[in-house]
Amino acid sequence: MSSDADAPVDAGAASVEDLRAQVQALQEEVSDLREATDDDGQKSMTIIATKGTLDMAYPPLILASTAAAFGWDVVVFHTFWGLDILHEKKSKNLKLSAVGNPSMPMPNAVAALPFMDSVATSMMEKKIQENGTATVEELIETSLDMGVDLQACQMTIELMGYDEAEFYDGVTTGVGAATALQHMADADVQLMI
């Protein structure tokens, strides 16, 4: 009986040693992983803004300023027509497209008339004002004040023939796809708008 009892105790002692070693190895691994993921609770978001119409300027700016209010680290990378949102002059004159927009209360054949974009834009601007919705300019200033990094794609700046001085003060220039990807890889939320 006593020999039967001794055997499992010896085996158990060996197992405990093994388990201690395993637990220690796992603790080290967890510690390394925690360090690698660097999860300090700081969330971040990267938005790629590609559109330059009045309606499409809003979603990235609203999400960016709100995320900044949450204390998130926010980057909005503006490329192609999205660049117009950061262009001080053009941003105040963004247009709504009447053609190809099924939400417009008119057929495409009518929407394609030369003045219809202006009519649609004026209607939208009036609604924005009546509703107390912030203007694109206000949202840009607010976002910059809150520490949002609004980036203008360098390649598109050159492609469109813009001058860096034409953008709002505080806009980051001299950045490209690699910078955007770097932020996207680290971000908790990535959006293409």
Binding site: I62, T66, A69, N131, A134, L139, T142
Partner: protein
Amino acid sequence: MSTYEPTETLDVKGLSCPMPVVKTRGAVDDLESGEILQVVATDSGSMSDLKGWADSTDGVSMLDQEEAEEDGDAVFRHLIQKE
């Protein structure tokens, strides 16, 4: 609502998303720890948005929210404490 005494009041009446949340953030940043901010909005979405913001932002807590009437219009009052 009356059990809490707000230190400051932020009037965001007439403003719509995202401004109530954005301006609340700025007003809370100016508070001292323990102080209470009252936010008065006309945006009905502020009930969900400010609660969501307060719940997922460190250092603030939503004490109370209520819908009231002011000069015949619906207003939404929020009491937020800086921790």
